[in-house]
């Protein structure tokens, strides 16, 4: 259950907190006593401690500067005070008094929790997140400026030769093949080619959308070589056939999402009785498939350096992943990634620095390259002192290659690289450039941003806005937005779901993959199409559908609109007007992900709608309760079971919000199919929901819910906040108490234009003093 897992996150980071909560909740008299003890502690603190430690433990210059922040338990902290404080007179505050002071500190400022409660959020120092680290390392080492996917024809360029060797005078066909999936039998690809021996070369690019491990497979009975992203090292060597028997050759490769990679497949047949070749892949968390044309381009892409070190997950205890925590495993993983990158650069230093092994100025050119590398990495011109340490000292008394390694390693391990928003004073143009690029691309500024930084243009808000707009076009912005969709619509769940195969025999991994594509196409259509209106996300009555989806969900309109010959990947947007569906809320992928193996889950759906779509806050449940279907009378509907399970007043504190929202979606089963009945009983999807203002809203199904989410100001602000958090990796309140309201005002004025909203968010965060 989503709320349980959220609770676990809170617990793991704040394990000690729970006993206190229980204490507060269980016994009111103790809680009262607690309050008076805290008040007593506050008085003692003000009298005996504040002069050195500051009113709220923030420290006092030239007295005790370190803030009093920590995570000692009450007893331990009390003991420290008892024994050591006040500094000059430790016996002045002991026993009960020391305990009271500790109570006051823990309640007011000592713990992170207390500070969050009592102080407005601030812009916390952040290191690179996983995505940011991987993107910057790729862009730095591969010298990527802007990213655009190849625009060429979909498919791979195929050259066919009437010989087992690929000799140019034997080339008889050149064309673009949308996919590589051929069964030639005992024949040949073309009448111009004799069946005894022939060969082909396919070249182009393959587009990886998600970051992760890709399995590439070639199925063939003949000879093949496959190269992906590296012309020098074969990914699959299947040059030697084995009696013409078909074999499956698979190798894995870690790829960074949102990028295109060069690919080359060579094939030859000689003497084997038959010929066949298929090029497949298995993207992360997706089923294996013949690589579809939408992921292939006939143009070549630049070779990219991809860091393959798996970094530990970013801290998501604030509700969104961010870089505000470090750990030993993070330090080790980033070190290892830096070593790999340094070795890669050192290996290719001659080509990268434009020099040769024997050249007299080789060292000089290598040093120049390293200086340019560090300058890009820090997104800031190097000071003389930095140049001395990073470049001159690294190359002192060592071979050129070792100098390159040291310099690159030092650059990538430097806090000026790992913490991209470090700045002593008011931000200069370079800081603004970094803020823009990391917000939109999770990567370093490009040459254009740096040029604008250098000329001082980025200190003008108007220019900032213009440059932010210009950056939207980069493919990395779309990749970052995909991450937002994943977060906003809780799509990680969708990748892990499994459904009862007896009840839903055709709900296959392939269907789930198609549904994901259907949802992505819709979201990208809204964000990047002609009408980027937030309300469409919730209210649209269109859906992208292919044959498999149309068959499963019985969208009969699909067949009327398309001809039956198109493959599984040919999606069309169909109108579902008159049907009870509405935007993302009723997209089958979202509904299915928020459901059990066999049954719906109004609680999962309700919590998701409350938090993600309506922007409301839910606290972790006071008691952990597990839904056990077997414990209920089997004749009950899911609505009845959930009502029964959550009827206590303890539960109703939140479930009076959650349940009606979930019940309003009960017309959709565990795989998102529309239904009118559950176990022969008519579904009751009408529910009364009490909004934040206290107004009761009658929801007669999914469309009413969608309408409320589209129109509610709180919901709109919730959407803005989530998008802000995803782009900026900080809460909007850290940028001023009115930031969210200002953004919302403009959102309304701009007719809920989500692209303008992105520009507003990034501009606000970039010009923040």
């Amino acid at each position: 259950m989503s709320f349980v897992s959220r609770r676990r996150i809170v617990r793991s980071s704040l394990d000690w907190l729970l006993p206190c909560c229980v204490l507060f909740l269980v016994d009111v008299s103790i809680a009262d006593d607690e309050q008076s003890r805290i008040a007593h502690g506050a008085k003692l603190y003000a009298a005996q401690c504040a002069s050195c430690h500051g009113k709220l433990g923030e420290g006092v210059a030239s007295k005790y500067e370190e803030p009093l922040y920590g995570d000692l338990s009450l007893a331990d902290l009390a003991n420290v005070i008892h024994k050591t404080m006040p500094d000059e007179e430790p016996q002045a505050c002991v026993d009960d008094d020391a305990e009271a002071v500790a109570r006051f500190m823990i309640d007011t400022f000592y713990t992170a929790e207390a500070r969050a409660k009592n102080q407005p959020p601030r812009i916390a120092l952040s290191r690179l997140t996983i995505e940011q680290f991987n993107n910057t390392v790729t862009d730095l080492v591969s010298n990527v400026d802007r990213v655009a996917l190849p625009k060429g024809e979909r498919g791979l360029k195929g050259q066919y030769f009437n010989d087992r060797r690929t000799k140019s005078d034997k080339r008889v066909i050149e064309r673009v093949d949308p996919k590589i999936d051929y069964e030639f039998g005992e024949g040949s690809p073309d009448e111009k080619i004799k069946p005894e021996e022939f060969s082909m070369i396919w070249t182009g690019s393959v587009i990886a959308e998600e970051t992760g491990v890709y399995e590439f497979t070639v199925i063939t009975g003949n000879g093949i070589k496959l190269y992906v992203n590296d012309d020098r090292r074969m990914l699959i060597d299947g040059w030697v056939s084995s009696g013409g028997q078909s074999r499956e050759l698979t190798e894995s490769l870690f790829l960074l999402g949102g990028r295109s990679y060069r690919i080359k497949l060579e094939f030859f047949k000689h003497r084997d009785k038959t010929a066949s070749v298929q090029l497949l892949w298995k993207p992360p968390r997706r089923p294996r498939e013949v690589i579809p044309a939408r992921h292939l381009r006939a143009d070549y892409s630049q070779e990219l350096y991809v860091s393959t070190t798996v970094l530990p997950p970013d801290d998501a205890s604030f509700g969104f992943p961010r870089g505000t925590a470090v750990s030993k495993s993070w330090d080790e993983a980033t070190t290892y990634a830096a070593l790999d990158a340094a070795a890669y650069v050192a290996d290719r230093i001659d080509r990268l620095a434009g020099t040769k092994g024997e050249a007299k100025d080789r060292r000089e050119k290598a040093m120049k390259y390293c200086e340019a590398f560090a300058t890009r990495a820090f997104a800031h011109p190097l000071s003389d002192a930095e140049r001395d340490r990073l470049i001159v000292a690294s190359f002192k008394d060592v071979e050129v290659e070792e100098g390159v390694k040291r310099s690159v390693l030092l650059t990538l391990k430097s806090p000026f690289f790992l913490y991209p928003h470090l700045s002593a004073d008011a931000p200069d143009g370079y800081d603004v450039a970094s803020r823009i690029s990391f917000s939109l691309w999770d990567s370093l500024p490009d040459r254009r941003l740096i040029a604008n930084a250098k000329s001082g243009q980025l200190l003008k808000p108007d220019t900032v806005r213009r440059e932010v707009q210009a950056c939207l076009d980069d493919t990395r912005t779309r990749t970052k937005l995909r991450g937002f969709f994943r977060q906003w619509l809780a799509l990680d769940r969708a990748e892990e779901m499994s459904k009862d195969t007896e009840l839903y025999p055709h709900f296959s991994p392939e269907l789930v993959s198609d549904l994901r594509l259907s949802l992505d196409l819709f979201l990208e259509d809204v964000f990047w199409g002609d009408t980027p209106d937030y309300r469409r996300l919730l209210l649209s009555d269109t859906m992208y559908v292919n044959h498999r989806i149309a068959d499963f969900y019985q969208f009969d309109d699909f067949k009327a609109e398309t001809d039956a010959d198109k493959g599984d990947h040919d999606f069309v947007s169909i109108s579902l007007k008159g049907q009870p569906r509405a935007g993302v809320i009723t997209h089958p992928l979202v509904l299915a992900a928020l459901a059990y193996h066999k049954e719906t889950s109004p609680i999962h759906r309700g919590v998701f709608v409350t938090r993600n779509l309506l922007g409301r806050v839910l606290n972790p449940p006071p008691i952990a309760t597990v839904f056990e279907d077997a414990k209920f009378d089997p004749h009950l509907t899911m609505r009845e079971k959930v009502s029964e399970l959550t009827k206590s007043s303890q539960c109703q504190g939140c479930h009076h919000i959650i349940n009606p929202l979930g019940f309003s979606l009960e017309n959709f089963d565990a795989v998102g199919q529309f239904r009118l009945r559950e176990k022969e009983r008519k579904i009751e999807a009408v529910a009364d929901y009490k909004s934040v203002s206290g107004k009761v809203i009658r929801l007669e199904g999914a469309r009413d819910l969608a309408l409320h989410a589209a129109e509610s100001e709180i919901a709109q602000k919730g959407f803005i906040r989530q998008l802000f958090e995803h782009l900026i990796k900080q809460p909007p309140a850290a940028y001023g108490a009115t930031t969210l309201n200002t953004l919302h005002d403009r959102f309304v004025k701009n007719n809920f234009n989500v692209r303008e909203l992105m520009v507003d968010i990034v501009t606000v965060a970039s010009i923040q003093p």
Binding site: A124, D237, F254, E332, L410, K413, L422, S423
Partner: protein
């Protein structure tokens, strides 16, 4: 194969910081000393050089323990009493593939090649071998027993093998259709064996600067943010400490120092050969493996031995007729050079005391020097060069043996038996005749 997933353990291995947790330091005398002398460590090294030999400058005329070495084998004079030359061993595997292909891919497998699409200079095209090779068979045998298990079991070294994978380039097979590639780059091999020691050095050189940077950055941030940087700095300090303690880890034999920047190319073969052999001996001494392959170029290999004053490629020369005296002389030089490599390897093994045991590594290691052809210009698979050196197999050494055309499958079985692995047949059962060769023990 996964070149991508590098978890914490892998990271530590690469950095060499937690080597103590890995099994390969177990060759220390204190541990190995407990084993009884009868359980001595037996090792096998297969050394391959291509394109046949010059028989009348290679094979001793005499039979038995009283024999003299001809020009090609003359460098082995100091090791004559530990030598066994086996004339009359024939590769009788027939079927698809030209002689070079079968000579190579059936040499250690003793079984036919699958039909396939790789066309040789003559005969039918072929694919990979249809069975496991004897080195891999012995590796599996040794690895299945905790007493003889080592970190790698087997290491395969190459010198100028080239980047092609086909039946001419692969000796070793993990099973049917499963060729195993030798590692021809000594730096890669070093990394495989010892982790990235150089990276450790590089890393150590920058960690002070990183800490200094972190301290400078501290001044730029608010007091709340300092905690994060302090934490970060503590991890950097920890890593520095771990690197320092990691350095003190014990190997029985110290890690060899490789000359830097030796490019993997034809002209560097003499250097590459030394580097690979140094690593090979080091691996055996540190008990990382008990089986090794050392493959010089490949079948049909065209090494240009400029360092011997020979400009033509080895394979082209090997096709010249017997009456081309110049070519013959050059081939004698080439094969003598290979023999000198064998001598260097033997010498290095002899100089290295058996860790925790008696004598030297050579006393417990047998090197089998072989070739894919008997003679280059005839492409015969009869009288394949087999020269055995060292005391790993309990064979009676110091002899020149002459068999009457025995299938090489029988020799492969005998080698396995010498390592304590009794096989009823090996490779094609029809070629195993009466089983083990007589006269070896």
């Amino acid at each position: 194969m996964s070149h991508y997933l590098l978890g914490r353990r892998e990271l530590l291995r690469k950095l060499g910081v937690s080597a103590a947790a890995l099994p390969f330091v177990s060759n220390l005398p204190s541990i190995a000393g407990a084993a009884s002398a009868s359980q001595r460590k037996q090792r096998l090294v297969v050394m391959f050089s291509p394109n046949g030999t010059i028989p009348d400058e290679f094979w001793p005329d005499e039979e038995g323990s009283d024999f003299s070495l001809k020009r090609i084998l003359a460098p082995l004079q100091p090791y004559k009493d530990r030598l066994l030359t086996l004339h009359g061993i024939c590769n009788k595997v027939r079927g698809d593939g030209d002689s070079h292909m079968r000579g190579m891919s059936c040499l250690l497998t003793g079984t036919h090649l699958f039909p396939g699409n790789i066309q040789g200079g003559s005969h039918t095209p072929a694919g990979w071998a249809s069975g496991i090779s004897i080195d891999q068979e012995l590796k599996n045998f040794l690895q299945s027993n905790p007493q003889t298990q080592t970190r790698f079991g087997e290491l395969l070294f190459g010198v100028n093998v080239g980047q092609r994978a086909d039946p001419w380039t692969r000796l070793s097979y993990a099973g049917p259709n499963k060729p195993v590639a030798p590692i021809e780059d000594p730096y890669l091999m070093f990394e495989k064996m010892y982790g990235r020691i150089e990276d450790q050095e590089t890393l150590k050189s920058v960690l002070d600067d990183v800490q200094e940077d972190l301290r400078r950055v501290r001044q730029l941030v608010s007091s709340e943010d300092r905690r994060l940087l302090d934490e970060h700095e503590s991890f950097v300090r920890e890593m520095e400490k771990e690197l320092q303690s990691g350095q003190q880890q014990a190997y029985t034999v110290p890690i060899p120092e490789l000359e830097a920047g030796v490019a993997n190319e034809n002209d560097n073969a003499p250097k590459l050969a030394r580097m690979q052999m140094d690593l090979l001996v080091n691996g055996l001494a540190n008990d990382m493996n008990r089986v090794a392959v050392l493959q010089y170029t490949k079948s049909v290999g065209g090494a240009r031995m400029n360092w011997l004053g020979i400009d033509e490629g080895h394979h082209a020369l090997s096709h010249e007729p017997d009456d081309n005296k110049d070519a013959k002389e050059k081939l004698v030089k080439i094969n003598t050079w290979f023999c000198e490599q064998l001598v260097y390897l033997a010498k290095r093994l002899e100089e290295t005391p058996e860790p925790g045991g008696q004598g030297s590594l050579l006393d417990n290691t047998t090197i089998v020097w072989t070739n894919e052809l008997g003679k280059g210009n005839s492409h015969t698979l009869n009288n394949i060069p087999f020269v055995l050196l060292g005391g790993g197999l309990n064979f009676k050494m110091g002899r020149s043996l002459k068999y009457n055309a025995q299938n090489h499958n029988r020799l492969l079985m005998s080698i396995a038996a010498g390592m304590g692995h009794e096989l009823k047949t090996f490779g094609d059962p029809n070629l195993c005749g009466d089983g083990l060769l007589t006269d070896l023990g």
